[in-house]
Amino acid sequence: MDYTEKIDLHMHTVFSDGTDTPEEIIARVRESGIGLFSVTDHDGIKAASAIPPLLSEDGPAFITGVEFSCRDGEGKYHVLGYGYDPDALPIRKIVERGHRLRIKKVRARLELLRTNFGFSFPREDIEELLSQDNPGKPHIANLMVRLGYAASKEQAFADYLNRMKFNSEYVRPEDAIRGIAESGGIPVLAHPCYGDGDQLILGEDMDRRLRRLTEFGLKGVEGFYSGFTPRLCRETLSFAERYGLYVTAGSDYHGKNKMIAPGDTGPVNAADAPEGLRRFLADVKIING
């Protein structure tokens, strides 16, 4: 694999909160001149089986991917997994566990809405909600708007969903990291400076985080990311070097949901690839059409 090629290893499809179907995302990737991509849906691995049959010989090449939302006493993390075998039991178990926890959370939320505010939800809507791959707060908010409990999605979040705090179970980062590795994949920390996407983790905090996660078996960091400034990119790359980690590059493309262009891996050119990115591309399992 030639690392100077345009790559995007962080993309979402309809299997999570993106808007592209597998066919559409392949078309978008091709249009954008990307030679290698990975679909990293939140807590789901359906694309890993759906995409390979759609690939063609003239590219692009593909890496199986996933983005697990994890949490423990120390914080929240998004852990990416690359090049795993989608049929392997360990990763399937994490996905199933994640899905179960998600369903449990949705049920708990609906129950809280009912007891606290008296909102009731028709049975068929609940069935529909729970049958989705990745049900969560946005889906409940949509439903609330449709049923007239909230004027807008924002109001649903601000007045109801974000006010209900309850303890729930989460996938722990060490479980995700081990599950990915035991399935032949490479576990990588997504957008390290941003934690689970809403935080700022820099300097000593990042150091502490990486020290723990590498002990669990973390192998890489997402060093190039559409949402990074040059400073954040440099900071992440310097940590990668210090810990001897792989480096990946991704956009977090979500289709029409966010204004992120496929292949946008940030202000620093990933083609000037550091050694960690070259090693990653040499070691990860790449699927060609």
């Binding site: 999605k153 924002e154 979040f157 601000a158 974000n162 400076c193 941003y194 934690g195 996407g197 809403d198 935080q199 700022l200 820099l202 559409s226 949402g227 400034t229 040059p230 400073r231 954040l232 949901n257 966010k258 204004m259 992120i260 262009a261 946008d264 202000p267």
Partner: protein
């Protein structure tokens, strides 16, 4: 196109904010975008990424009115390096605040016990503030104790920079309220001045005061007779470049006592140049500015004209390390030349020629200036050199001056007495014969070199060529009644000193006396 951001932006509403912005911007790709963040209380990293995405389609996006919490986040993450981010300034009122200083570019007020704000006069205050911060930092690095502003605030229509001055009092205040501390103030004030003037500034870091003084001289040239004007300009031009620091506005409001530390403030006039420029601005602050109206200094410094004059005189005395009045007056006159030049220009520039008082002031200063220019050939001065009328009455001045200089070299009492004998011989000789029957000037220079410690005293006059060494030594073995009259003095001088040499160069008698200590 201005887009307002309000409240909090985090992952809960980032998508909505992004949609709103996208909607407002649709069809306006590439147009200048200003994000007005004055209503923004908090932004999480999800919000930061929204800003980043907007910037991708609108590269000239600016963010304005950013509060300090949000600014910290933008700064920490490198956003401030990537795009133009303008901070929202805290608003500070100076109503009822004590004015503690006033300089060329601004006025300093005390806003509470431990903080002062300097409010800038100029429209372009932000760049002035930036300049002052930079030069204050430079001064601090070079070892000058000063305060560096920690915040920029909005004061009415202008901007101010805030400094911490913990329980500090200016020297003006001390002089006004505790006149008995005058001598202590002089010592501290001059020690700091010497330290400033001993500081070498890396090239190009500070403006050259000579350039400014030249512009004053060029201006004033047109207001005085041509000959005097040309002389003024050539005197300033002859001052060599000097890379030592000068403060530029060194008066007692700009020197503060904070606990036991003496601090220099109001750094925006910091420059490099010959110390005469500094002395000129000091003369103006204590004398020149109030010569016409003695109440000026009371209004500005809080002490009266007599106190100001005494402080100036004592400071110059301490700075030059001499109580020799001739020496002090010589340097003061040089300072007055530049000082009056500046005052004349300033008064004209301010349009004060329209008033009777303005014209009177200019007339007074111009007369003084013309008188000074007539008798001055250089604006340079040396602490080691005394120029004075070669008359017998000035012997005491010469002895005082030489005595002070060799005192500094830890000269033993016996050698001091011997040197005094030699100095008397030589100076009286010059006073008696060099210009007779007319009068003329003599210069006495004292140099001390180390390893071995040697004092060299040089006498220079423009009188008739005369080599006192050419005369044969008197025969001191003869009985007194047979000896020749005269010649004994120079003989004694040769005995006392380790080396005496004479030269006649450029119309000058140069007699050099050397004594090893």
């Amino acid at each position: 196109m201005i887009i307002n951001l309000n409240g909090r932006i985090d992952s809960n509403n980032a998508a909505q904010v992004e949609n709103d912005i996208t909607e407002q911007l649709s069809g306006r790709d590439g147009a200048p975008v200003e994000i007005d963040a004055s209503g923004l209380e908090y932004i999480s990293s999800a919000g930061l990424r929204v800003l980043l995405r907007v910037r991708k389609t609108h590269p000239d996006m600016r963010i304005t009115g950013v509060n300090s919490e949000v600014w910290e986040i933008l700064d920490m993450t490198g956003f401030t390096e990537m795009m133009e981010v303008e901070k929202a300034y805290r608003v500070v009122s100076i109503e009822g605040c004590e004015e503690i200083g006033r300089g060329a570019n601004g006025t300093i007020y005390r806003i509470d016990r431990d903080n002062v704000v300097k409010v800038y006069n100029n429209a372009d205050a932000l760049s002035d503030i930036q300049h002052e911060r930079e030069v204050a930092k430079l001064a601090l690095i070079l070892g000058i104790p000063t305060a560096i502003s920690y915040d920029v605030v909005r004061v009415g229509e202008s901007y101010g920079s805030v400094f911490e001055l913990l329980n500090a009092r200016s020297f003006s205040k001390i002089l006004a309220n505790e006149p008995e501390r005058m001598d202590w103030c002089v010592k501290e004030y001059v020690d700091l001045l010497r330290k400033i003037h001993a500081t070498v500034v890396p090239e190009g870091k500070l403006p050259d005061m000579k350039e400014t003084a030249l512009s004053w001289a060029r201006f004033v040239r047109d207001y005085i007779p041509a000959e005097a004007g040309d002389k003024l300009l050539s005197l300033v031009e002859a001052i060599p470049h000097d890379d030592h620091m000068i403060h530029g506005d060194y008066h007692t409001k700009n020197v503060e006592l904070q606990n036991d530390e003496v601090l220099l403030i109001d750094m925006d006039t910091l420059s490099v140049g010959h110390p005469i420029f500094e002395l000129a601005s000091m003369f103006n602050a204590f004398i020149g500015f109030s010569e016409y109206d003695h109440d000026n200094i009371l209004r500005f410094q809080g002490f009266d004209f007599e106190t100001g004059s005494a402080f100036w005189h004592k400071s110059l005395e301490a700075y030059l390390g001499t109580s020799c009045e001739t020496k002090i007056r010589e340097v003061e006159d040089k300072a007055r030349i530049i000082g009056y030049t500046r005052m004349i220009r300033r008064t004209v520039m301010r349009g004060e020629t329209e008033t009777e008082e303005g014209r009177e002031k200019i007339k007074m200063w111009t007369e003084e200036l013309l008188g000074l220019l007539k008798k001055t050939d250089t604006l340079l001065f040396s602490r080691n050199e005394l120029e004075l009328e070669a008359v017998k009455e000035n012997l005491d001045e010469v002895q005082l001056f030489v005595g002070e200089r060799i005192e500094e070299a830890d000269c033993p009492p016996k050698a001091q007495m011997q040197i005094a004998v030699a100095v008397e011989e030589i100076f009286i000789n010059i006073a008696s014969y060099a210009y007779a029957p007319d009068k003329g000037k003599a210069t006495v220079r004292v140099e001390v070199s180390e390893n071995p410690v040697t004092v060299t005293i040089t006498f220079v006059d423009h009188g008739v060529p005369y080599d006192p060494l050419a005369k044969e030594d008197p025969d001191v073995t003869l009985p007194a009644e047979q000896r020749e009259i005269g010649g004994l003095g120079i003989f004694m001088t040769k005995k006392i000193m380790d080396d005496v040499t004479y030269a006649y160069r450029d119309g000058q008698n140069i007699l050099m006396l050397k004594k090893n200590l």
